[in-house]
């Protein structure tokens, strides 16, 4: 029993939801079938998964040293 094919355009539209495991089972099945046969979309998928991982791990915004103290003082002085 084959799944109904979907287009690359549809796949890109749902790509982010797929990465978040936020697609209905039927759509998920169609997308997985598509990834098996479409190298482009597979590449975009893997790149996107990498991006999510990189952004989560790689971007750090450290609080400037003394931030908490300065903030606390501003609150107290108000």
């Amino acid at each position: 029993m084959s799944v109904i094919e979907i287009s690359c355009l549809e796949v890109w539209r749902e790509l982010s939801n797929y990465v978040d495991d936020d697609v209905a089972p039927e759509l998920r099945a169609r997308m997985e079938a598509h990834f098996k046969s479409c190298a482009h979309c597979k590449a975009v998928l893997e790149g996107t998964q990498n991006v999510v991982k990189l952004v989560a791990d790689g971007i750090e915004y450290e609080l400037p040293s003394g931030f908490s103290d300065r903030l606390y003082r501003k609150i107290k002085d108000k």
């Binding site: 975009v44 790149g47 952004v55 989560a56 501003k74 107290k76």
Partner: protein
Amino acid sequence: MGSPATYSDANQAELLRRACEGDKEAFYSLVRPCERAVYVAAMSIVNNPADAEEVAQEAVLKALAHLTGFRAEAKFSTWLIQITINEARSRLRKDRRHLYESIDEPRTDEEGDYTPKDFADWREIPSEALKRDELRNALKRALATLPLKYREVLILRDIQNLSIEETAEILGISQGNVKTRLLRARLQMRDALAPGIDGSWSSGKPEYKKVRPW
């Protein structure tokens, strides 16, 4: 000045009650666990530490001034981040350097599909090829190329790990809109970071090159 990292609903209610009565220590106890999230939200918009800190302070003081307007059933951190984002956007509007960056919400929903621009096979995670500093800089540079409305969503979802629902609430947009913007943000980041034809990653150059401008 030690505080718990998180607090329960009951704890929030109690701290809020005391804060509304003018207890500044209680107010700071509410704020302290949100400091990083507030700072990160500000940074995502104004993109420099000095301005971000000022925005954070202003947002916290605004929250203090409007505490009685806060609905106690809601999450304090969500409310505070919302104030921070509005404050950061206001600052951006005043700053002439960003005169041409679109800050205000579009009237209509997102239209048109985003087409990935680079189909290069990018299976290797660049973090293995680059040193930590280079990677962090490359990521921040790529992030800075995103339109503001996409950057905000990416930061709230993929760095702060807020839910779609919370993100929608903070930004005042629908969940569908959050998902669309997140999709575009992630695809644009991917295009900005993808190896590209000249193979910048494999040559080990510290600066990545964006192959295709948009």
